[in-house]
């Protein structure tokens, strides 16, 4: 016993000695260690500061706009004629374009994404899931300009061959394509939510004679509902902010309408049009893009906040 202890002690001592020798070399490392939190904080601060800076710019420039155009006109007028002799700056035409394209996209992405999620989480074997999920997520990696051209050169002609009244640029086609684009987002996030429903809950339902579908619809989806809703909200905010597809495929008609066959401009596409045109700095047109951008920012910000809130409730559930 005693011999054993001694041998352990000597071993410890020698380790200690070795460590002490290294200590001097480590002093530089120590200084570095102390700097790490500060450096990391700087990196974290960069992104926060950027956001603040963007918001600051948006607000100060938007203030210029609202000094010239009244709040009421901006939020209630259905006329948007920024370059006319007698210009008017109503947001509603852009809002109708954004809302319509978002609704169309969600009508596509909601059900398809949810069904894909049900399939992946409840029906697919492990092998199929491991194969399909990355493929689905590949859809999300395609650049939006590609989707834009897909909408303009493929989907629109296809729609026109079935439904000739559709205009060459219209809101339906980019809406549909946007829907396809956000399917993976809905499917993948909803699948995560459904996957985190404990298996014991499914067993409880199967044990009562429920079929797979009954279990999925009446137990798994309700249990995962907050995660699913959060995925929808995130998808909506993605659709609201989507720019390229609508810029290419829905034209630039500032049209307050809910007719999906017509050309319509969205808020994002308006910003692209004005900022790529030659609106001189300081003009009302120039400032109007900041007002639109601020509205857009507020909308997506609220959406993301909502998604976070819902997702938090979901985590607390079990």
């Amino acid at each position: 016993m005693t011999t054993k202890n001694v041998s352990v002690n000597t071993a410890n001592l020698s380790t200690k000695q070795l460590m002490n020798e290294k200590k001097s070399a480590a002093s530089i490392k120590n200084v570095f260690e102390k700097m790490v939190p500060a450096v990391l904080f700087l990196f974290a601060a960069v992104s926060v500061l950027t956001t603040i800076a963007i918001l600051y710019t948006l607000i100060t420039e938007a203030i210029h706009f609202f000094q010239r155009v009244s709040f009421t006109e901006f939020f209630t007028s259905t006329n948007l004629k920024p370059l006319s002799q007698n210009p008017s700056f109503g947001l509603l035409p852009l809002l109708s374009g954004t809302l319509l394209s978002t609704i169309i996209a969600m009508v596509v992405a909601g059900p398809i994404g949810l069904m894909a999620a049900i399939y992946l989480s409840e029906y697919a074997s492990d092998r199929v899931r491991k194969l399909l999920k990355p493929m689905l997520e590949l859809l999300a990696g395609i650049p939006t300009i590609v989707y834009g051209f897909f909408a303009f050169t493929f989907v629109t002609p296809l729609l026109r061959s079935i439904w000739p009244e559709i205009e060459l640029t219209n809101i339906l086609s980019p809406g549909l394509v946007m829907g396809i684009m956000i399917i993976p987002m809905v499917a993948s996030l909803s699948e995560d939510a459904m996957n985190s429903v404990p298996n014991t809950m499914r067993e409880g339902a199967y044990g009562l004679g429920a079929t797979k579908l009954e279990t999925a619809i009446k137990v798994v989806i309700p249990a995962a509902i907050s995660g699913i809703v959060a995925s929808f909200v995130l998808a909506i905010s993605r659709a609201i902010g989507e720019t390229m597809i609508v810029t290419i495929a829905s034209g630039s008609t500032k049209n307050f309408s809910f007719d999906v066959t017509e050309s319509m401009q969205t808020m994002t596409a308006y910003i692209v049009e004005v900022s790529s045109g030659d609106a001189a700095a300081g003009t009302t047109v120039y400032y109007s893009i900041y007002a639109v951008a601020l509205t857009l920012f507020t909308m997506t910000f609220l959406m993301n906040l909502l998604a976070k809130k819902i997702a938090r409730r979901f985590r607390e559930e079990y």
Partner: protein, 276 residues
């Protein structure tokens, strides 16, 4: 090597020590014949031949990993949910082989309910938990559901504790209450058999006593198969006991006989706590 399994019927005829002389021999509700089961390559059940009598409590005991859970999960075909599982042999339930392809698993599980080791209520209200089974089987009428919920909760000895909070989430109940709620949920579809996999192992002693009393009150109407690690529990509540070891049934007989004079030395060792 063939396993000698003591069928319930055989020793029961020899020994005439039943408390009630008029007790008729009970029909068996389940009868397994050369039941074998594999998880992939590993065999978890080996040649199980058991006759489980109806309207009584059958306990399954044995050391960890001997196949108790696997066995009761074959009785309602829950094992099928694990993709690697393969079964061979027959399980007769009321005369038909439930392992045959055209026997509907859903119909079987409607008849053979299950209570799990960990209480697993749905994240719904107490009322909706109990009404879930009747609802998926097509009962929609509120008044009928109300009656079913009340009766099931009463039968599960939990009505008085929850009658004023039926609309509250079931997760707000204590573990013992949740388990009795799960039993109520199971009773709501009026099964013939209730399978229970260590239903009290997650509960405190007082809740355990309540659930044990409940189980005993249920055997008048239901056939109950219960897996337990607790030998006192098996001795207290069951009518017959099967001792499993390494996927085989070592001994099966009346509980009082199996615990007082086991026929197999391995059973003796196990109940005396020498292994497992």
């Amino acid at each position: 090597m063939a396993v000698q399994t003591q069928l319930y019927a055989v020793p029961a005829i020899e020994k005439k020590e039943s408390k009630n002389k008029n007790e008729v021999e009970k029909e068996s509700i389940f009868e397994t014949k050369s039941l074998n089961l594999w998880y992939g390559e590993t065999q978890a059940l080996k040649n199980i031949d058991l006759k489980i009598p109806e309207k009584s409590i059958t306990a399954i005991i044995g050391p960890s990993g001997c196949g108790k859970s696997t066995f009761i999960k074959t009785l309602n075909r829950m094992v099928e949910l694990i993709p690697s599982v393969q079964t061979k042999g027959d399980i007769h339930y009321k005369g038909s082989n439930i392992l045959s392809k055209d026997y509907s698993a859903e119909a079987l599980r409607t008849d053979v309910g299950m209570v799990f080791q960990k209480p697993n209520p749905f994240p719904k209200s107490i009322y909706d938990n109990v009404a879930y089974g009747p609802r998926i089987h097509g009962i929609k009428k509120k008044s009928i559901l109300d009656d079913i919920v009340e009766k099931s909760l009463k039968d599960a000895f939990i009505w008085d504790e929850v009658k004023d909070r039926l609309k509250e989430n079931a997760f707000g109940l204590s573990g013992g209450q949740q388990q009795r709620l799960c039993i109520a949920r199971c009773l709501a579809i009026e099964p013939e058999v209730i399978l229970m996999d260590e239903p009290t192992s997650a509960l405190d002693p007082i809740s355990t006593t309540k659930v044990e009393e409940l189980i005993q009150s249920l055997k008048k109407q239901y056939s109950i198969v219960i897996v337990t690690h607790n030998m006192q529990q098996a001795a207290r509540i069951s009518d017959q006991t099967a001792f499993f070891l390494n996927g085989e049934v070592v001994e099966f007989g009346k509980t009082d006989e199996l615990f007082t004079e086991p026929k197999d030395s391995r059973t003796m060792d196990y109940i005396n706590g020498r292994f497992g």
